[in-house]
Every structure is written in C-alpha cells, then in structure tokens.
C-alpha cells in the first residue's frame, strides 16, 4: 500500500512538474513575445513572485507560531508571551509597547534560540537522511505555495491569477507535492534509529495513507463542478473563478468541504490527529532526536504546511479571493480590486489558521485505532457516497 501511494505520488509529481514547464502557465501576461529581453523580464518577475510567495508563507508560518501561543494562552486564561522586547523597538512610542504585549518579538527570540543552540548529531543516526529530513519536510510547503492563486487581476479584460505558476494541473500538483511533506516525517523517524520516532513515523505513514484517499475523493466533486464550464478544471485559478459571483463550494458541497477539512488536519499532523508526535506517549514522536535548527525547520514546516493547506482549502471550498458568496470584487475597480482580492485571501488564511489553533486547544487527541477507524470506516465511505451523489446529480 505504501509503495503504491509512493509511486502514485512520484508519478503525479513528475506529471505536474512536466506541466509546469509547459508554456502558457506563466504569471506574466499571456502571449509574451519570446525575445531575449522579454525572457529576462519574465524571469525576473517570476523570481520576484517566488520571493513574495515564500515571504508570505514564511511570515504567516511565523505569525501563526505566535498566534498559537497567544490563542492557547487566552483560551487557558493566561496572557501568553508579553514580556520579550528588543530595547530599541520598545523605545518606539506606541508601537513598541504594542509589539511587546502582542508577543511579536517573541518570534525573533524563538528563532534566534533555535539558531544559536548547539546542533548535535547523535552517533546512532543515519546521518544523510537525518540531516535531509527537516529540509524535505519544509521544501514541499514552499513548492506548493507557487501554484496557489493569491488573488486576481485583470489585463485586457481577461482575469489573470496572481500566482507564481498558473499550471493546468495545479490541484494535482498541490496534492502530490503537499503529500511529500510526510516523507520528511518518515525519513526523520527511520533515520533517527530510535523507538519513539520510529513508532511516530509508522503512525504518520498509516495516517496519511488512510486520509489521502478521503482527501482526493472530497476534491473530485469540486473538479466535476468546475468542469461544467471551464476547460482545465484542475487549474486552481479556474476553481477559484468558478466560485466568484456564485455559491462557494462549501455551500454547494458541505460534506465534501468537511471531509477535506478533516483530511487536512491529518495531512498537517494537527490535533486531534497529531498521533505522529503525540508528546504524551511518544516523547515528541518523529522529531524526538532532533534539536536546535533542525527542529526549528520541522516546526516552521508544520506551520507552513498549515498555511499552504488552508490556502488550498480556501481555494477549493471557501471561495478563494472572493469576499462573500455570490459576490465578487468588481472588475471595473481594476488594481484596487486586485489588491482587495489578495487581502481577502490573506484574511481568509489568517481565519483558517485561527481555526486550526482553536481546534487544537479544544479537542483531545484521537487514539491511533480511533483515527484509523474514523478514516476507513466513516470518512472513506462518506467520501465515496459524496462522490457518487454528485456524479448522479450532475449526470441527470
């Protein structure tokens, strides 16, 4: 089973990468003349776009670390981090005090702590994979970020996505590469050569295999809906456009949205499905043997995964960059509408991140067998039923 999924992922992955190379999937304006000068500009634009995408994802990941601590504290009746301060920032009249109270400078302290700690390499680990694992858990997050359409702009009357690469198999690409993140987890677990990480890795593996199916089944009806009046229904931008000035897919397919959301919690290893690193029984699961900056990478990777996962969920079910169901930013506003669409998307990501955190500090963790039962006995049949229902509905 594991090999199968692995092969499928590799296949999808190479497919998507091949598609990414196909011209026409550019962020820049269509029909760009391929003179050398234009190529340079286009290349520069793409690098710029990639940088912006990485900055957005990483800063959201960082902010959600602070948000995690703050929201957790508030739910538990505490204040959370509100003392850390950089002296010269604190000296700024109102802003400094606010940043201190909001715990935003704690972020810097956390990052520096991970950076400056001793970076031990245990003697009993498989060194190559042990070092590669954190990178492999973070990299897919940043790769997936490039196909997410963060907004929309209009050029010559045609709606264009604000994304790094607007590829036709964007959805497949996102699902395939996004699922690669779990290989980092498994690699870390196996190379650590220690019992707790090993068990954690096995759990992560089993969990992802179980819920990946549900996720795919939940997405299919969306693609079917989009396929009614779009040429490339796997394109994330087309999926987003299908929801402008019409019902969002979470309203049209509430069950599918719910299934996808649950599978997303599993994919990102978040409570109530964080059995891969359940700190009460597995010390800290797959990253037990990790410390300092390597652990930091895992940490950022987890939150980055949340950001990208929420972005995907928003694009698929929560109306992408549109402000309200049956309401879209009017095209006539031009650049203003473009900016507003990006802001809408970012606000939605923030809301989703809050939801992730909120759930984490509300629910207890599922036991391993409960998670498996839920996946195979409840969610998978529901996913199939959901798919069949919409197939029939669209068929007749």
């Amino acid at each position: 089973m594991g090999v199968e999924v692995f092969m499928t992922n590799i296949l999808l992955n190479s497919l998507a990468l091949a598609a990414a190379g196909v011209p026409g999937g550019a962020a820049a304006a269509p029909g760009a003349v391929s003179t050398p000068a234009c190529d340079w500009v286009e290349l520069l634009l793409r690098v710029l776009f990639s940088l912006v995408a990485i900055i957005v994802v990483m800063s959201f990941a960082g902010l959600s670390v602070v948000a995690e601590r703050k929201v957790c504290a508030y739910i538990q009746g505490r204040y959370g981090p509100n003392r850390t301060a950089i002296p010269w920032v604190l000296a700024v009249p109102v802003l400094g005090k606010f940043l201190q109270r909001a715990g935003l400078m704690q972020l810097v302290a956390d990052g520096l702590k991970f950076l400056f700690k001793e970076d031990p390499l245990p003697a009993h680990v498989n060194k190559v994979w042990y070092v590669a694992a954190p990178v492999i858990s973070l990299a897919p997050v940043l790769v997936v970020a490039c196909v997410i359409p963060f907004g929309v702009y209009w050029s010559n009357g045609a709606a264009m996505p604000l994304s790094v690469a607007n590829i036709d198999v964007g959805l497949l690409f996102a699902l395939a590469v996004g699922a690669l993140g779990v290989y980092g987890t498994i690699m870390a677990a196996w190379s650590s050569n220690s019992k707790f990480p090993y068990i954690g890795g096995m759990r992560a593996c089993a969990q992802v295999i179980s819920y990946e199916l549900t996720m795919a089944l939940a997405v299919l009806p969306v693609v079917m809906f989009v396929a009614r009046d779009a040429e490339s229904p796997l394109n994330l931008f087309e999926i987003g456009r299908a929801q402008s000035a019409s019902a969002w897919f979470c309203l049209a397919q509430p069950l599918g949205a719910l299934l996808f959301l649950i599978a997303l919690f599993v994919e990102t290893n978040r409570l109530p499905f964080d059995i891969a690193e359940s700190e009460t029984d597995l010390v800290s699961g797959f990253h037990t043997e990790y410390g300092s900056f390597k652990f930091g990478l895992f940490y950022v990777g987890e939150y980055g995964h949340m950001v990208v996962g929420s972005a995907l969920f928003i694009t698929l079910f929560l109306g992408a960059w549109n402000p309200l169901p049956w309401l879209a930013w009017p095209e006539e506003w031009g650049a203003v509408a473009a900016v507003l669409s990006v802001l809408t998307f970012l606000v939605k990501i923030a809301a989703m991140l809050f939801f992730f955190i909120w759930i984490r500090w509300t629910l207890p963790r599922f036991r391993y067998d409960q998670a498996m039962n839920l996946g195979w006995r409840a969610l998978l049949p529901l996913g199939v039923a959901n798919l069949v229902f919409y197939m029939l509905w669209l068929g007749f």
């Binding site: 739910i75 505490r78 204040y79 759930i359 509300t362």
Partner: protein, 179 residues
C-alpha cells in the same frame, strides 16, 4: 457490592461527534474573552494572607527598643541551623540596663532558612517575626547571610501595646505599693 453503572446508549447526534465538537469550540471561544487569571507578577504583587511566613526579621517595640534579649532559643530551635546569635551585654548606663543582655551579632542565613516560623513561635520576647518579604536574591552566598542591622531594617517596629520591660514608676515604688 458492585455498583453497575448503566451506560446510556448514545443517540444519533451524539454518535455524530460533530455537535460535541461545536459545543467544545463554543466553550473555548467563551474562555478566549474571559478575564485572565494570571497575576503579572513583578508588576502586580500577590495579596498575602494573614500569618504568611516570609523572611524572618528582628523588630523593635513601639518605643524604638530592640526587643531581642539574646536568649538564643531561636538558635536552639532552628531546624536548619540558619540562625547564629552572639550574645553581648547591654549598655550599663542606658535606660534599660536591667535587661542585661542584647545580641552583639545576630545572623540569619537566608540560604539555610526554611521559613518554618519556629523561631517566631519560640521567641519569649516576640522579637523575631516572619514578615511578607519572599524575594531574596544576591550575587554571592555571603550576601545572603543577613546581619543584625539588616534584619532590624527589614523588621521595623512592632506596634505592641504590652511594654514588658517598661518600668511604670520606680521599682521601689512598686514594691511599696504591693505591701
């Protein structure tokens, strides 16, 4: 006798699990807006209850007299051997010359002290009192051994109405009255 607890069968909505999640989310959301229970410690100080046992101090009476008579009971009773009293004589020309003894040096090692309050309990003069101060910090071990002057500074005055050693008139007068 075994008590059989009857388990109610869950109804459909309870088995669905989602309504329970929603109600849980509502509870945590309410908590989000509740006032915080944290005491921002160095800014806000806790209100200490009566009879709180903080650091031991030496006190003066309302006349400004140093109450300790250097009987060394506290030194004897101290379970952690934190107190060291060096007895000395009192100024023979002073007002209270008849008390005869006062500590020449009085040391409490705050690193050894366990704040049990036995010294306070045993003191016949109410001269040693455990007060509110609970934060002790220093750069070295020597600084944590509090001497007599420091203990009196920390202690202040105990507004005690009973003047045990105060002579109302002359002792001779008292003796004459009693006969």
């Amino acid at each position: 006798m075994a008590i059989v607890v009857e388990r109610k069968r869950l109804n459909f909505f309870e088995r669905l699990y989602l309504p329970q999640i929603v109600s849980g989310l509502i509870i945590t959301l309410k908590n989000l807006f509740r006032p915080k229970v944290t005491l921002s410690y160095p800014d806000q100080r806790p209100t200490l209850p009566d009879g709180y046992r903080g650091g031991p101090t030496l006190v003066k009476d309302s006349q400004g007299r140093q109450k300790c008579v250097s009987c060394q009971l506290c030194e004897f009773v101290c379970p952690s051997k934190a107190i060291r009293v060096t007895p000395g004589s009192i100024d023979p020309d002073g007002e209270y010359f008849y008390i005869e003894k006062a500590p020449k040096e009085f040391q409490i090692n705050m690193l050894r002290c366990i704040f049990c309050g036995m010294c306070e309990e045993v003191c016949p003069e109410k001269a040693i009192v455990l007060q509110d101060e609970f934060t002790f910090a220093a750069q070295s071990r020597e600084e944590m051994i509090f001497d007599k002057q420091r203990l009196y500074e920390a202690g202040g005055t105990l507004p005690d109405k009973i003047m045990k050693w105060k002579r109302v008139k002359d002792n001779a007068d008292l003796e004459r009255d009693s006969h």
